[in-house]
Amino acid sequence: MIIFAALAVLLPFLSAAAGLLGSRWPGHARDEQGDERANRRAAWVAVVPTGISAVLAGWLAATHGAGFGGGEVLTSSPSGGTGNGGPGTDGVTGTLTVVDTGSIPISVGLVVDDLAATAGVLVTVVALAVQIYSVGYLRGDRRYPSYSAFISLFTSAMLLVVYAADLLVLYVGWEIMGLCSYLLIGHWWEDRANSRAAVKAFLVTRLGDVGFLFGIFVLGAAADSFKINDVLAAVPQMSSGTLIAATLLLLAGVAGKSAQVPLHTWLPDAMAGPTPISALIHAATMVAAGIFIVARLYPAFLAAGPTLDVLAVLAALGMLGAALAALAQDDLKRVLAYSTISQLAYMAAALAAGSDSAAIFHLVTHGAFKALLFLCAGAVIHAVGSNLMSMMGGLRKELPITFVTMTIGFAALMGLPPASGFFSKDEVLAAVEQAVSQGPLTDAAALLLYGSALATVAVTGAYSTRAWLRTFFGTRPIVALPEPAPGTARVIETHEAPATMKWPIIVLAVPALLLGLVRIADVHWGTAGLSVAVALLGAGAVYAVWRSDPLSDPARMLGPLRAPCERAFYVDSVYQWVFARPVLALARLVVRTDDRVVDGAVRGSGRVTLGLSGLVRLTQNGNAQLYVTGLLAGVLLISVGAVMFG
């Protein structure tokens, strides 16, 4: 069984390698035809292994769910690695080899349990969708082969995170995901802004990752093993200080990867990448990795109360702030990006409130509907040729399929029944509501969280409605389109997208609409009613404002808050002033210091030597009398010495 997990991880990796090295092989034809051939080859190389991985992941989920757990252990080590895997807490582990590091060994191994199986399905399905969608979206792009290879690499890394049985192995996948994210955001690197966004994404997440690594160290050292199962088993023996330190450090990585306050700023900028990437990696999968990790190590978090409080406060801040920011954006993709931050904060809230199942449920449904929303947005942008909503309007007639599917997506986002978001958000809210009375959180944090969550429901309704109305209703302003920048789209024809783009949308609309029904039995109707009412309140307010003047932006209802919201409360500027500029100034200072002080000391020592020799050389002035004087003085000294000591 583990070998299938291993295959699921390795296949995309091999496909990435093949895609990078082989798609232009043989011959380096750089003409139109060569490009097309290469793209076609790359598409097959990318899609097929991802598809197989998806099947494998699905099979893993199915068999594991069907109770094969703990049966099968595979040792697939080529060089005598020890396969000491066995039934863990509730899953199958397999260890390929153990790497001795000198202290705590790293065991290269995989584990499949409920959580991993579920997440694996989500990842592979989304990856498959993005691969297929990209074939159409990036038709004719010369760099499609590398692009698809990076997605494959990403898939592989994410699957590694999902299936990893060892925290350091997990970290490997975790970082490679960050790299892929960097490479994909920077896909259109001709534009400096894209390049900057890519760098920012990588750096911000890496900042969190360092904390994450240290958290792993703390946990690993306390448990004397990096194996997740061992760590979780050792949690009860750990001191609370250790746990709090470890989980807070882990939280840094989670905040970075899942774009939570205060490390969220990279996500809106990451929308500079191609839309499929924004949709599926930066909305559905990679950003969910942080939530996934918390769920993975949930016992450790549950045992560390203060960490959950911190998480709750961060989530509360993040969900409301991001939702408000979303309300003021003009760029459709940025609206969705801020919405992603807000929804991820919901998941974090559920985790903080003590319900990891609600978080994972919301993760899955959010993956589905947010992916749907982004792909629809991609279709819209593809059609309009601009990211800005002020360029859109009245598209429901021209893009009927996109209109329908995106409506489903927005409904799910707002949490309107029967869309999937309704059920998952209801569970989250119920969990948070419960946390107010009981649970791991302190009262203040829980109250703050609950209030924030409700407010966010309203604001979510508002910005969803605003985006929906401004995109599909009203009339399209007649503006002379500028030359398309290389970050947007190739074609500017207002009609439905090609089939490879259309079908993933339609397919994704189904789970976005129906996924929630599996948990229909668990709905807390009271909470649900309240949430729907609040959401409709927000939506209604926006609609009322929009009705009064369909051409202008309903965001004007924010009044003086609008500017701060649009700039996302100036967090970027603050970071710019607090971190980026000082670091750069420090760097320049260091270079100057290095030249003047450190190297100056070196050169100075040389110069002092030369100067001293110059001084000595002054006596060598050619005056023979001086020489004789010195000679005689020396003889005198010697004779005095000889007389006195001889």
């Binding site: 050389r617 002054l618 050619g622 023979a624």
Partner: protein, 152 residues
């Protein structure tokens, strides 16, 4: 006769000679001071010869020899001084700096600014040694440039 008296006189004369050699600028005066030193030595030789009653009269004979050598020395020395004077128009010791290191740029040395004189000097090694490279207009010229090349 106490031996100390002539010995002290000779020591003082010698020191005076030392002072003259070190302090006088004119080459002829330096030669004179050298003579003073030689005479101090002579006095010593004589007094020790007398004191030790040397059967071979080594001290006094040696004094005679020294006097002879001093005469030869003064003859040669004056010849050199004359050659020097013909070449440089000066006999001042501190203007004769051909022994100097080529000074680094910036440090001004009191080198002789005498333009190259008649190269048809009697071709003795000494003339070459004192006046530096005959073919160059100034002794410091080529050496200074080569020195700078090494510095950089």
């Amino acid at each position: 006769m106490h031996v100390v008296y002539p010995a002290i006189v000779s020591a003082l004369l010698f020191s005076i000679g030392v002072y003259g050699v070190l302090a006088r600028r004119n080459t002829i005066l330096v030669l004179m001071s050298v003579e003073l030193m030689l005479n101090a030595v002579n006095l010593n030789l004589v007094v020790f010869d007398v004191w030790l009653r040397d059967r071979l009269h080594g001290g006094q004979v040696l004094t005679l020899f020294v006097i002879v050598i001093a005469a030869a020395e003064i003859g040669l020395g004056l010849a050199i001084v004359l050659a020097l004077y013909r070449n440089r128009q000066t006999v001042d010791l501190d203007h004769l700096r051909a022994l100097a290191e080529p000074s680094p740029p910036g440090v001004t040395a009191t080198s002789d600014a005498t333009p190259g004189t008649d190269p048809a000097i009697p071709g003795t090694a000494l003339a070459h040694a004192t006046s530096g490279d005959e073919t160059a207009p100034s002794a410091a010229g080529p050496e200074r440039t080569s020195g700078r090349r090494e510095d950089s």
